[in-house]
């Protein structure tokens, strides 16, 4: 499989002969195994997938054939250490997300070298099979949203709208919503991570809805904001349109091989110049794939990262005014050579309900 070959190239550059992968998303990416207990070793002595007896059948069905499946007997960590020592592996690179506890146990059998984000780095560039699933996850999220959009109106509670959206997401074939769906209205919309409450949508409320769907483990992530008609809504319309400008300008500013932080700067400058800089407290976006938040980070702190063919990330500027409300508009974009494709297709012009 190409993905393991890519990993071996990364390992070669780092002079690593044996690498233990523990992150289950990385293991799924590299082998296809979707269960909840497994360890992968990629090495010049062979590639091995270790799991326990519960996942024997599933690993036979899922794990790609170039990788040898080994069923652990007894304590898995101990078993793996002995197995690898027996085939002559004494030096082992290991993902630094490993727990101290496991690190400490393995350090008795190997010269360990903790390494950072090797597979995550490869995962920033999506291949065609991944893009099929990401597009499917976007379609599912959008289809579900269209189903429930008519319910955005005065009187409905945040929790009830969220429940309808979650049900619609599952009906599209998505195993579950991609994350805890956010429906935040009125002053709750000023909290970027609000939990849907029993609050009813009221006249004049801004409503922020942030949701996503899934396809074969791949996620989508999008946000739309709406305004419930009412009095004194001028300021809310103003911040909506500033955020919309920031979103559109940031997407327009994306160009292949440019520094990714310039996307953040474009969005941030627009919001800053409009006088709301201090109310945009988060980064402009993040990669999306097998994790909802993955590399690349689209922020002012993304120092040397360049926009690269195959990347998929969000563009999601926002303004959050305490005790007033908030707006965030989040699209997913895909970099395809010179062209920048916006995967999200839902309307983002202000709709007053």
């Amino acid at each position: 499989m190409n993905r393991i070959i890519n990993l071996k190239e990364s390992m070669y550059k780092r002079r690593t002969n044996a690498f233990l992968i523990l992150n289950l998303r990385n293991i799924y990416y590299l082998t296809g195994f979707s269960g909840s207990s497994g360890w992968l070793v990629v090495s010049n002595r062979g590639d091995f997938f270790f799991t326990d007896f519960r996942y024997k059948e599933q690993s036979l069905r899922e794990v790609n054939r170039d990788v040898e499946i080994v069923i652990c007997k007894g304590d898995c960590i101990k078993f793996i250490a002995e197995f690898l020592n027996n085939i002559g592996i004494k030096k082992l690179s290991i993902e630094d997300c490993v727990s101290y506890k496991t690190y400490n146990r393995l350090s008795k059998s190997f010269a360990l070298r903790p390494v950072n984000d090797i597979v995550e780095q490869i995962r920033t560039i999506k291949d065609n099979e991944e893009l099929v699933n990401i597009r499917q996850a976007v379609t599912r999220a959008e289809d579900a949203f269209r189903e429930i959009k008519g319910w955005i109106k005065e009187g409905i509670t945040e929790a009830s709208l969220a429940r309808r959206l979650d049900d619609a997401i599952r009906t599209t074939g998505s195993k579950n919503p991609a994350f805890d769906t956010i429906v935040a209205s009125g002053i709750n919309a000023a909290l970027p991570h609000a939990t849907p409450s029993q609050k009813q949508m009221q006249s004049g409320d801004l409503v922020v809805i942030d949701w996503g769907a899934e396809s074969n483990g791949y996620f989508s992530d999008m946000t739309r904001a709406f305004l419930i008609n009412g009095s004194n809504i001028e300021k809310k319309i103003e911040i909506y349109n500033i955020v919309l400008s920031a979103n559109i300008a940031a997407i327009s500013s994306i160009s292949i091989n440019a520094l990714i932080k310039t996307i953040d700067k474009t969005a941030r400058d627009i919001i800053k110049h409009a006088g709301y800089g201090e109310y945009f407290g988060h980064g402009t976006g993040h990669g999306v794939g097998l994790d909802i938040h993955e590399k690349p980070t689209v922020s002012q702190y993304s120092k040397h990262i360049k926009v690269t063919h195959g990347m998929v990330f969000t563009v999601e500027p926002g303004i959050y005014l305490p005790n007033v409300g908030g707006v965030r508009i989040e699209d997913m974009v895909l970099i395809r050579g010179d062209s920048i494709e916006t995967l999200t297709s839902l309307n983002k012009e202000l709709e007053i309900k």
Copy 2:
């Protein structure tokens, strides 16, 4: 709050003056914070909850008042290290589930001492507030099951039954199912961790359903098995009744202060003497609370652990015959002084559908 006082007693016994807790379930248990980013320090210099700006409002609402809330500026790990150094903390115990990466960073500011399962140990003894939620989670799971029980019949797919059960669980008020609901029929029932498939239930199939619900973060976990009427079902009836005997005998064998491994032995001996010992490949049970699987482990390897007032755990013997099917019957029990209460109330005598 009593829970932090209990923790301080544990810390005192281990001569620990400052303890950094990273496990979010442990943080929820100790403080009430339910968000996804936070760190808790319990120390003789004060108790501090650290989070980032996104969770400011939520932490003010949720975190108990004896703990001081601190909003990190910039990189949280760096901020916390400086904060603690500034108030004179130089030695720090830390949960050994910490990632190597974080451990390594903090080791530059502290003499670190990784510790194992301190809070998890306290969590094995449930207090009254926890029991209210666990009982609620059991009631929700049972109510949901009664709603869909009529659908267990020839022709329905595993996935469709699982979807109905999941929907019913959400309708009870449970935020989500406690875990990925298992519906496994026919030869799939021989896999303890099967994923619901498009397979239809057929005449003569054993059907294993393993599900749970939630209440304020606390879970329930239960399994029932059914038989679809058909020919050649004698062996299936036989293994059902062996597992049922093992379940009943294991629950009857529970007594306060006895070694917990005797419960496993009771169940295992019955299955072994019936000739199916090799087809019962997992432990007899596990604690349930804020985690679906938590301490105590009910297995032959649970060396010195005693049945203690306040424990909640499952009793779930099973037999899995490759290419035939399987049975698991799982109840939750609560230890209340001398009395053993079975929380699960659903019928467990064989029902042939």
